[in-house]
C-alpha cells in the first residue's frame, strides 16, 4: 500500500497533503498552547498569571503549589485509590460492555430492539440523587470500594458505540460462513470479533479509564471516608478552597495560602492529568487502518 502511494501521488494530492499539514498544524498549535500555558502557570507567580503578563515563558518561578500538594497525605491516598478504581473499573466495564454491545449488533437476535430500547431509556430517565442513594444504601454499598469500581463502569453510551462499530465492521457473511463451519457464538466472539474490534476496544477502554480517572461525583456522594476518596475529589476540593476566607489567623500563613491557592489550580491539572495523558499514545497502535479485515476476508 505504501508503495502504491508513492507511485501515484499526483500534483493535486500534493496540494491536498500540504493543505492537510497546514490545517492540522493549526489545530495542534491551538491545542498545545493552553497546555503549555497551564504548565508554565503552575510554576509562575500568580500575580503575573492573573494580570495577563504570562504569555510563553514562566515568570517568578516558585513551586509552592506543588510543595503544598505533595505535603498532603491525602494526595497519595487519592492517587492509590484512583489507580485501583481506574484499573478494575475499566476491566469490569470492558467485560460487561463488549459482549453486550456485540450481542446487540446481531441482526438475527430476536427482541434486540426491545432490549436496546430498555437500555437507552435509562440514558434519559433516572431516579435522581436521592432515590439512587437510598437504593445503594439498601444494598449496603455505601462507603465501599466495590461500589466505586462498578458504578459508572457500564454505560449505555459505550454499549451503543460498540454495537454501531460491530454492525458496520463485522460483515454478516463472515458470521454465516463461520456458523456453517460449526463455529459457535462464543467461539466466534472470542476468535473473530475481539481481534477485529481492537480499535473500538481501545476507544472504550480509554473512555472508561478516563471517565474513572476524572470522576469525583460518585465518591463525593457515596463515601464519607477520606481513605476511600479518589484523587479527583481531593483536587477538586483544592480548586474550591474558599479564596475569600475571613477567619485565617496568622498573616504569614495567609500570605503563603494566597500564593498557593492562586497557582494550585494549574498545578492540580498537571498532577491529575499527567498519568492519564500518557495512556493515549499506548492505545494508538490499535488505530491502524483495517489490516485485519482484508486478511480475514480472503
Amino acid at each position: 500500500m505504501k508503495r502504491m502511494n508513492m507511485k501515484r501521488v499526483s500534483a493535486g494530492d500534493h496540494l491536498t497533503n500540504l493543505l492537510f499539514y497546514v490545517l492540522l498544524g493549526v489545530f495542534v498549535v491551538l491545542c498545545f498552547y493552553p497546555i503549555w500555558y497551564v504548565l508554565v502557570a503552575s510554576i509562575s507567580d500568580p500575580t503575573y498569571v492573573n494580570s495577563g503578563a504570562l504569555i510563553t515563558l514562566p515568570r517568578g518561578v516558585h513551586f509552592t503549589a506543588y510543595k503544598y500538594a505533595f505535603d498532603q497525605p491525602q494526595l497519595w491516598i487519592g492517587y492509590g485509590n484512583t489507580l485501583c478504581y481506574t484499573f478494575f473499573g475499566t476491566l469490569f466495564g470492558l467485560c460487561v460492555c463488549i459482549p453486550c454491545g456485540y450481542a446487540l449488533s446481531r441482526q438475527d437476535l430476536p427482541f434486540r430492539g426491545i432490549i436496546m430500547g430498555i437500555l437507552v431509556f435509562t440514558m434519559y430517565f433516572s431516579g435522581g440523587l436521592i432515590p439512587t442513594y437510598v437504593v445503594i444504601n439498601t444494598l449496603n454499598l455505601v462507603n465501599t470500594r466495590i461500589l466505586l469500581i462498578i458504578l459508572g463502569s457500564v454505560s449505555v453510551y459505550n454499549i451503543v458505540l460498540i454495537r454501531t462499530f460491530c454492525q458496520s465492521s463485522i460483515p454478516e457473511e463472515l458470521r454465516e460462513a463461520a456458523s456453517i463451519d460449526g463455529c459457535s457464538n462464543t467461539r466466534f466472539f472470542f476468535s473473530i470479533v475481539l481481534p477485529l474490534s481492537k480499535a473500538i476496544l481501545a476507544v472504550i477502554a480509554l473512555y472508561i479509564a478516563v471517565h474513572h480517572w476524572n470522576s469525583y461525583y460518585n465518591a463525593l456522594v457515596y463515601t464519607t471516608d477520606t481513605r476511600l476518596q479518589p484523587l479527583q475529589l481531593y483536587l477538586r476540593q483544592l480548586l474550591l478552597i474558599n479564596t475569600g476566607a475571613e477567619d485565617l489567623g496568622d498573616p504569614d500563613a495567609l500570605k503563603e495560602m494566597q500564593q498557593m491557592i492562586a497557582s494550585i489550580r494549574y498545578a492540580v491539572i498537571v498532577l491529575s492529568s499527567l498519568p492519564i495523558m500518557c495512556l493515549y499514545p499506548f492505545l494508538q497502535k490499535y488505530f491502524v487502518q483495517g489490516v485485519m479485515i482484508g486478511s480475514i476476508k480472503s
Partner: protein, 560 residues
C-alpha cells in the same frame, strides 16, 4: 475449715468480678456518630487525630465516629446523608441551614430551655451574659429548639458589608487629600488616572477604582451607600429602611438611578475598571497585588494583597457623600453576626442525648472552645494582656478573666535554619510530629473553624499591630465609620422563616435578583435612559419586587 476458706475465696472472687464488671461498665465509653465539615487545608488524615478530640473523648467518656463532609462540596453530601442513615449529631453550623431544619423537623430531637440550662450550663451562661433575648434567636416557628448555638460572634465588627479603602501613599505622592464628597472622589480618581500615582514610571497602568462583581464584598453596588441605599449583593439585600424602621424599596428609587448614572459617567471616563463585572476574583487580587489599584471597597486590604507594605498603604474612609442624600451602610445583626444557630444538632437517631449535651457543654467552656477552634493553647495561640504580651502557662483563671479572654494566634520565625530547627523541635515536643516540615496554615490545620463553639472574637482585634489579620478593618469600622455615624440604625435580625413562607418567597422572587444585578451592570456599562428605566421598573413589577420588600418587612417585624 477448708470449706469455709473456699467459700470465702469464692465470695471474694465473685465480689471482685462484680466490682471489675461494674467498673468496666462504668468506663465503657458511649459511641457517638458526629457529622462535621472538613476544611481542605486540614492536614490531619482524620478528626480522631486531633488532640482536642482525644481530650474531649476522655473528658466526656465518649468514642466519636466522625463523618467528615468536604468543605465546598457539602450540598450533595448532606443531601445523601439525610436520605440515608442519620448520624447522632450534626456539628456543622455552616451547612445546617434554617431551611433544612424547618423543612424536616421530625428528624431532630427538640430541646427545651430547661434541658439547655441543666445540661449545657456553659453555653447558657455565655448567652445570658452576651446576648439579650437569646431564646428568641434559637426557637423555631413551631416553638421548638433544634440546635445549639456556636461560631464566632463579632460583637463590634457588626457589618458584613465591604467598606471603602483608599491608597494613602498614592494620595501623598500626588499631594491630594482624602476625598469626602463624591465630586472630590471623582477628582482624585482623575488624578490617579492621569498621573503616575504608583510611581513606577508608567502613568497609564493605574486602575483608579477597581471592583469585582463575583465576590460580594467588593461589588460596585456597595457604593450606593453614598446615596443612602445600604445594599449588599451577598445576602441579596436590595431594600432600605425608612425612618420608622419599615422596610422599603431601594432599587426602584430615583436615588438608585442617580447612583447608576453617576457611575456610568465614571465608567465612560475610565475612572472605574468596567471589567469588574466580568473579571474573576483572582484577576482583582492580581491588580491589587501589582499596586495598580487606588481605591476599592472590600473586607480588608490584607485579604486581597499579600505584601504587608502594600496593604498598609490602604486606609478605610467614610463613603463619599452626595448632596441631598445621607450616607447609609448595611448593618448585620449585632449579636449573632457570625454565629450559627444550628451548630450542634442532635438527631432522632441519637440514643444518648444527655451525653451529646454533655459534649457540647464541655466544648462551650471558653478555653476549650478556643482550643477547638484554633488548636492547642500555648502552641498555636494564647491569651494576651492589654499590651499584647502572651500570658504564658503560669496564668491563672483570674488573669485570663482580667484580660477579658483576649487572645492572639502565635506565629513563629522560620527564616533561619536555627529558628526552623527550634520550631520543629517545639512541634515535636507538643506531639505534632506530623506537622514538621509541612506547609500548613495555622489554625485551620488542627482546629474546627467552621463549627467552633460560641465565642466572642472582636476583642482580639484590639491591638496596635496593623499587620495582624483583620485589624485594619476593625480599626476602619471603629475609628472611621462608627464616629461618622453611617450605619443604618435598623438591622435585619435573623428571625427564622417558616418553611411555607420560604417556599412562597423562593418562587415569587425567582429571577428577581438577576433582573436587579443585570440592570445595575448594564446601566453602568451603557447608561440609563428613560426607556430602559421604565422597562426595568416594569420588570421589577413582573418579578414581584413589591412582594420581596413586603416579605422582608414582615420578617423584620416577625409577622410571617
Amino acid at each position: 475449715m477448708t470449706k469455709r476458706i473456699l467459700t470465702l475465696a469464692l465470695c471474694l472472687i465473685l465480689a471482685l468480678c462484680a466490682l471489675t464488671a461494674a467498673a468496666l461498665a462504668d468506663e465503657e465509653p458511649v459511641e457517638l456518630t458526629i457529622c462535621t465539615v472538613r476544611r481542605t487545608t486540614d492536614i490531619t488524615s482524620s478528626y480522631s487525630e486531633k488532640h482536642w478530640v482525644q481530650a474531649l473523648e476522655k473528658a466526656c467518656n465518649v468514642k466519636i465516629k466522625w463523618i467528615e463532609l468536604l468543605e465546598g462540596q457539602t450540598d450533595e453530601q448532606l443531601t445523601a446523608l439525610l436520605a440515608g442513615d442519620l448520624p447522632d449529631i450534626f456539628w456543622a453550623g455552616k451547612i445546617m441551614k434554617d431551611s433544612i431544619i424547618s423543612q424536616n423537623t421530625s428528624l431532630w430531637r427538640p430541646l427545651t430551655e430547661e434541658e439547655i440550662r441543666t445540661y449545657v450550663p456553659n453555653l447558657a451562661n455565655f448567652l445570658d451574659e452576651n446576648v439579650d433575648d437569646w431564646l428568641n434567636f434559637i426557637t423555631y416557628p413551631d416553638g421548638n429548639i433544634y440546635g445549639l448555638a456556636g461560631g464566632k460572634m463579632h460583637s463590634t465588627m457588626h457589618t458584613t458589608q465591604g467598606i471603602p479603602y483608599i491608597n494613602t501613599q498614592w494620595l501623598e505622592r500626588l499631594g491630594l487629600e482624602k476625598p469626602t464628597t463624591m465630586e472630590e472622589l471623582k477628582q482624585v480618581l482623575i488624578a490617579f488616572r492621569d498621573q503616575d500615582a504608583n510611581g513606577n514610571g508608567d502613568p497609564n497602568d493605574e486602575i483608579p477604582f477597581d471592583f469585582c462583581d463575583s465576590f460580594n464584598k467588593t461589588q460596585l453596588i456597595n457604593c450606593a451607600a453614598s446615596w443612602g441605599l445600604p445594599m449588599y449583593n451577598g445576602g441579596n439585600v436590595f431594600y432600605d429602611f425608612d425612618d420608622a424602621g419599615n422596610v422599603v424599596g431601594a432599587v426602584n428609587t430615583d436615588a438608585y438611578r442617580s447612583f447608576l448614572e453617576f457611575f456610568y459617567e465614571l465608567g465612560q471616563e475610565k475612572l472605574i475598571n468596567l471589567e469588574g463585572f466580568s473579571q474573576s476574583y483572582d484577576q482583582f487580587t492580581a491588580n491589587c497585588n501589582a499596586d495598580r489599584v487606588g481605591f476599592f471597597w472590600g473586607w480588608g486590604p490584607c485579604n486581597y494583597i499579600t505584601d504587608s507594605d502594600l496593604f498598609l498603604q490602604f486606609e478605610a474612609m467614610v463613603p463619599p457623600t452626595v448632596e441631598g442624600y445621607p450616607v447609609k451602610m448595611y448593618t448585620a445583626n449585632l449579636d449573632f453576626a457570625n454565629a450559627f444557630r444550628n451548630d450542634f444538632v442532635i438527631t432522632r437517631a441519637c440514643k444518648n442525648w444527655e451525653k451529646a449535651l454533655e459534649v457540647w457543654n464541655y466544648a462551650s467552656e471558653p478555653t476549650t472552645a478556643l482550643e477547638i477552634c484554633n488548636g492547642e493553647r500555648f502552641l498555636f495561640w494564647d491569651y494576651v494582656d492589654a499590651d499584647g504580651n502572651f500570658l504564658g502557662e503560669d496564668a491563672t483563671e483570674e488573669d485570663i478573666k482580667a484580660c477579658g479572654y483576649h487572645y492572639l494566634v502565635k506565629s513563629y520565625d522560620t527564616s533561619t535554619p536555627e529558628a526552623l530547627a527550634a520550631y520543629n523541635q517545639l512541634l515535636t515536643d507538643w506531639n505534632y510530629d506530623w506537622l514538621v516540615g509541612k506547609t500548613f496554615t495555622g489554625s485551620n490545620t488542627t482546629g474546627l473553624v467552621d463549627g467552633a463553639p460560641l465565642m466572642l472574637e472582636a476583642e482580639n482585634y484590639e491591638t496596635d499591630d496593623l499587620t495582624v489579620w483583620g485589624v485594619q478593618r476593625y480599626v476602619g469600622i471603629t475609628d472611621v465609620l462608627e464616629p461618622a455615624n453611617v450605619f443604618c440604625p435598623y438591622y435585619m435580625n435573623k428571625n427564622i422563616v417558616p418553611a411555607e413562607a420560604q417556599e412562597e418567597f423562593d418562587f415569587m422572587t425567582d429571577g428577581l435578583y438577576e433582573v436587579i444585578r443585570g440592570f445595575c451592570a448594564t446601566s453602568v456599562m451603557n447608561g440609563v435612559t428613560d426607556e430602559s428605566w421604565s422597562s426595568y421598573l416594569n420588570d421589577l413589577n413582573t418579578y414581584n419586587y413589591d412582594f420581596y420588600v413586603d416579605f422582608y418587612n414582615r420578617l423584620f417585624h416577625n409577622e410571617l
